[in-house]
């Protein structure tokens, strides 16, 4: 693992994309033709991402303020730009493809909460904001906050959801190529976000309690999607979480 942060900014610059450049015309034509169970599953996953991306794009500002040096702060700033784009992308799909009602993004998010489990809403609308508030008051809590955001939320919850979305899209009776393209681009962004978080964790002198908490949080968080992702996918996400923590230098006792 490379220890510095600066190359993430260069990487982020090279990966920029615009959600408005994606063609959703086929998606709009396909959506009404999907079977009820197909559209329900895709809408559930979209709902989860709308809630998640809206939350992370807000809360990352506390992380930026707690950065330990300018290079880390610049990477958080680059990540914030990605998260805001992800939030716009999933809201655009919800409004223009799935026809979710609402005058604005907040109203559509309100309408979508009923499509996901309460545990997912609690993670993104209570636990993450509470962690960000604590971080704003105590910048020394950065490593554990990164543990929740980058390792648990991005590395387990969002990564598992993105793979579930791509698998679901693959099996649909009518294609949603615009959504697929956007999710692939989101997944590409998430990889460097996770790499960045892993770097921070690796550079920290993590204690046993923090390491154990990070592992346990990941194991619990993998289940917030409920039946929108398969038990095998949950197991796979947990295995990868443990492997990632070990690769980042955490030893489990």
């Amino acid at each position: 693992m490379i220890r510095g942060y600066s190359h993430f900014v260069t990487l982020a610059e090279s990966l920029q994309w615009d959600e408005k450049d994606i063609d959703y015309s086929q998606d709009r034509a396909s959506w009404p033709l999907l079977a009820e169970d197909e559209s329900a599953k895709v809408l559930g996953l979209i709902a989860g991402f709308v809630i998640a991306e809206s939350s992370v794009s807000e809360e990352i500002r506390s992380y930026q303020a707690a950065a330990t040096d300018e290079s880390m702060e610049a990477v958080f700033r680059a990540q914030e730009r990605d998260e805001e784009r992800h939030a716009r992308f999933f809201d655009l799909v919800a409004a223009d493809v799935a026809g979710v009602p609402g005058a604005d993004a907040a109203a559509r998010r309100d309408a979508l909460r009923a499509h996901v489990r309460p545990e997912l809403v609690e993670l993104f609308e209570q636990r993450l904001p509470a962690t960000a508030r604590r971080l704003a008051e105590d910048h020394g809590a950065l490593t554990s906050a990164v543990g929740l955001y980058h390792m648990v939320i991005e590395g387990v919850v969002l990564l598992a959801g993105q793979h579930a979305m791509l698998d679901t899209l693959e099996g649909l009776s009518h294609p949603l190529p615009g959504l697929r393209k956007g999710v692939e681009l989101v997944l590409r962004d998430e990889r460097w976000h996770i790499g960045f978080g892993s770097r921070i964790v690796q550079n920290a002198d993590l204690g046993r309690d923090e390491a154990d908490a990070m592992l346990a949080q990941g194991e619990a968080a993998a289940k917030v999607w409920g039946n929108l992702i398969t038990p095998d996918a949950i197991d796979g996400a947990v295995r990868q979480h443990r492997r990632r923590l070990k690769a980042a230098g955490i030893k489990f006792w």
Partner: protein, 75 residues
């Protein structure tokens, strides 16, 4: 390595870099949790192996050039 009492640097080991996330594969360490024993050259890793950090594929890695990221190497 020693020649005539002079200690020479060992040849630099080829390392491979995951472009999506920054993980570096070091053949001396391998990736035991990913089924890759220490000492395995990158070229001998199966094609379905995935980056332990981000899940990218083997094809997403590139060889690090000698001296690349010299100020950023960890211990």
């Amino acid at each position: 390595m020693s020649v005539g009492g002079q200690v020479l640097d060992k040849p630099e080991t080829k390392r491979w870099y995951c472009e999506p996330c920054g993980f570096v594969y070091d053949p001396e360490e391998g990736d035991p949790d990913g089924g890759i024993p220490p000492g395995t050259p990158f070229e001998e890793i199966p094609d379905d192996w995935m980056c332990p950090i981000c899940g990218a594929t083997k094809a997403d890695f590139r060889e690090l050039l000698p001296g690349e990221f010299p100020d950023e190497w960890g211990s």
